[in-house]
Symmetry: C2
Subunit: 360 residues, 2 copies
């Protein structure tokens, strides 16, 4: 199978006839030197790129369908964090060989998610090389309404969507880095692994938070690291309640009730610390972290409801720079969690976690 | 040096204050989850992505400044082929390590070309991995005026810009694949190598051909292969005069006059065939191949003049499908040139040329 046949067979689909709404923005898709988009009046284009490298962001033997999903999901998550509606994406793909089963599975996972969001593949590139997936996604947002990292203000509530840490738990299990006495039940591992391999981009929540959130980012490198980006961009600090964030790991409830794992042997100093590290600095969550003025709590609840996405209030923005962690009684918790840095060999993340999260 | 410091040091530059014209389209650049562009009324967005893989599209020891230039140039060439004006690009970069000298050189070459075209770096991704450069470029073109592959009509003239084959000659020299008795003078090799490593995207010509060309494509995989895409998309055939195209290799004039190489030993059956292969199927040229109605010859000349880009008429579009090559006297020349196919191990290109051209 040649390159052009590969593109024709797996990555070319008819462009729908011009239609009202976002689907009608694609004037020309795959097959010419460029794709063409017709922006709508009053809309700005939101653009983001993420690259996934085999052995770094995914295992060589991951199910190709899941990888197709994830490669697009991490990009859609960036649109969600800006409150942008997905329009189109390009895919540049380096593959060691043209494996038809792999390509069919990859394309299935990719297009299932793309179709669910009305996001059209409009172009890209295929080449031979070490496996590498590079996607650029384009979305639209009304001028001036994009959610940015820089809008957090002292007194704002800090929220996170969904659950945190399950992807990191799955990765630790797959890499044999769980605490020695832990035995994850298969159902727990499967659920956590699905979070790692098929994250849910919070696009609907991002759209619902336009005009509500004062700042937003998606959690890809770990909650604290990504919160740090908001604090830096906004020139503020924050206080986060660890007793809330630690409970956001879905596996915790499963484990406590189903396996008895934590009944006899649970050691807060080691087991508790491991869970906390997963939720605070695990990464690969693709949840939205956002801030809102306290007066907007009803609007946040409405956004969560309309987008069918749970959100949890985990802390507050403060004027004093820096990040303070507290327990349920307001007592300081030492903050020693490094988020993943792709080139810092000495960072805690790089040392303990040879698979990084795409997304920043 | 960490990832975020790397981005800050080499790839973050201030976004200019909103200005009239294309520079004012960038509302938000590097540093948030997405970049934001404000499209101009009546304009369509042209989008293209190309990925360059070390050992496949470039040598590991290529000068990083030249590589920075080329990674963007091959993408700008796609915009040129559509008649689109460059606005912005994203860069996803996988590197084995954060080598500061390499990064400084790469960024210098990249931004020199970007600045020459008013094209802003607005986002991207950096990660550790086998060296891979993936760029997505965005341009704008008035609605309905994009140059497409599908507009060639029987009777149209076929033109190509600049010179062809010098990049392929340089690659053959660097890989020791020149005919045995050839000795390229250093000045000839240096000029050809500059064409391989620092191609010139024909952006100004592409803009000047709006409303003039009936179809266009950029020559990245080789003249005949890329002409084939126009013929297929337009449902037509073509006749190309090899006596003209073979002379388009700039090195030929240099070699004939300067070195005496061809005076005594030139064998049309082997040496001539080698040159012809470079010009017809060499690839990596990044010239524009386009068609126009014969009535527009004066307009083509004006476009060439206003863009300071030489163009040469090399053939004609015909109603009968297929590609016919003729010599200067109109006699058929057998067409046995395969263009590069990235996954076809048996193609002539893949067999003889282990470095492929990015761009399709």
């Amino acid at each position: 199978m040649g390159e052009f046949e590969l593109i024709a067979r797996y990555f070319t689909r008819p462009v729908p006839a011009p239609a009202p709404g976002p689907a009608g923005r694609v004037v020309l898709g795959v097959g010419d030197d460029c794709a063409l988009l017709a922006p709508a009046p009053g809309m700005q284009l939101a653009i983001s790129s993420d690259m996934l490298v085999e052995g770094r962001h995914f295992f060589a033997d991951v199910a190709p369908e899941r990888l197709g999903h994830k490669a697009l999901a991490v990009n859609l998550s960036d649109l969600a964090a800006c409150g942008a509606r997905p329009l189109a994406f390009t895919l540049a793909l380096a593959l060691p060989e043209a494996d038809e089963d792999w390509l069919a599975g990859f394309a299935r996972g990719l297009f299932a998610l793309a179709d669910a969001h009305g996001c059209a593949l409009v172009g890209g590139d295929t080449t031979q090389g070490p496996r590498n997936l590079s996607i650029t996604v384009l979305g639209e947002v009304p001028a001036g309404q994009a959610l940015l990292r820089s809008g957090a203000r002292p007194g704002d509530d800090v929220y996170v969507s969904g659950t945190l840490g399950d992807a990191a738990l799955a990765l630790a299990a797959l890499q044999g880095r769980l605490p020695a006495h832990w035995r994850l039940p298969p159902t727990v591992l499967a659920a956590a692994r699905a979070r790692l391999e098929q994250p849910t981009p919070r696009v609907a929540l991002g759209l619902a938070l336009r005009g509500v959130a004062s700042s937003a980012i998606d959690v890809s490198d770990g909650l604290l690291g990504d919160l740090g980006h908001i604090l830096q961009a906004s020139g503020v600090g924050a206080c986060i309640d660890c007793s809330v964030t630690t409970l956001l790991i879905a596996a915790y409830a499963e484990l406590s009730s189903a396996s008895g794992l934590f009944d006899s042997e649970f050691d807060p100093a080691t087991d508790g610390e491991f869970l906390r590290r997963c939720t605070l600095a695990g990464g690969d969550d693709y949840e939205l972290l956002f801030t809102t003025a306290p007066a907007r709590r009803a609007a946040v609840a409405a956004a969560a409801l309309s987008s069918a996405t749970p959100v949890t209030r985990i802390g507050r923005i403060e004027a004093q720079p820096g990040l303070r962690l507290v327990d349920g009684k307001g007592r300081p918790v030492p903050a020693r969690y490094a988020s993943f840095d792709h080139f810092a060999a000495s960072s805690a993340g790089a040392a303990s976690n040879p698979q990084e999260a795409p997304g920043k």
